[in-house]
Amino acid sequence: MRLARLEINGFKSFANRTVLDLPDGLNAIVGPNGCGKSNVVDAIRWVLGEQSARSLRGRSMEDVIFAGSQNRAPAGLAEVTLVFEQDDRSPPPVAYLNYPEIRVSRVLHRDGASEYRLMNLPCRLKDIVDVFSGTGLGSRSYAIIEQGKIAYLIAARPDERRMLFEEAA
């Protein structure tokens, strides 16, 4: 399976509902400083289950909801959906072989109510983690290198490095 589309609404600087299509091939995200590129990476890690607000550069999880700009009021909720398509390079888990696409979502309301969704139906975080288990993809996985963190792979202490190998095992 491969990530075909991202739908972001009210997450960080994405006040409007925004869709990123990712056709096959090498895609680069580009733009001026502060325009929202790393926020896209945060959106992916958030849907995959990231629990720490600090690791999403916020103080509380509410910081991921669009906080308003000079001309706009803050949003009431943040919602991100990842849409994966079938792809023969890496098959999905057996349970999902017959689905043309797999949609995983996460929603957070200002009042704190939050929800995960799989194929648009409410589910637990564990269900989302199960979809990707065995593929190496997760909110803290080595497959997502955050800005300025590439050297962590080799700078970490030897026991921390072991985790990488366990993940790949």
Binding site: I150, I154, A168
Partner: protein, 153 residues
């Protein structure tokens, strides 16, 4: 599970020892398990840069550390392909010739893995198939445009 760990460790370190000299145009690198129980010990990285002596990782330069980390990351992917890899400004510390090596490797790896790359580097942009531009036409609000770089591969 000890068996599986040792197998994956052997598989990754073999790929790392092959990929490192390709990226650096020589030299050698290896991964070594510490003493004692393989399920408890740490993993050491030993590198020798072309023309230089074997030395501790701390003495490497910013760009050399990034390239060594890229070699390790891609070795993990070569051993166990994963559907997606996101790289946020990984090319920032690299000089022009290392940026070209990084781009060539991305192109090669993109046959088995989907890459999403964030960059400010013109050379990297030119090596891509498509640019997804993020802008703030309205201050404080991100918007997205797609630019297709007509590549005839």
């Amino acid at each position: 599970s000890r068996q599986r760990f040792l197998e994956s460790f052997a598989g990754i370190s073999e790929r790392f020892s092959t990929l490192f000299p390709r990226l650096f145009g020589g030299g050698s690198a290896q991964l070594r398990l510490g003493e004692g129980d393989p399920l408890e010990t740490g993993v050491d990285i030993l590198v020798q840069l072309p023309g230089k002596r074997l030395q501790a990782m701390e003495l490497l330069s910013g760009g050399e550390k990034a390239m060594t980390a890229i070699a390790l990351l891609f070795s993990l992917f070569l051993y166990r392909p994963s559907p997606l890899c996101v790289l946020d400004e990984v090319d920032a510390p690299l000089d022009e010739s290392n940026v070209d090596k990084y781009n060539a490797l991305l192109r090669e790896m993109s046959r088995t893995t989907q890459f999403l790359v964030i960059t400010h580097n013109r050379r990297t942009m030119e090596a891509m198939d498509r640019l997804v531009g993020v802008t703030m036409d309205e201050p404080g609000c991100s918007n997205v445009y797609t630019v297709n770089l007509e590549r005839h591969r």
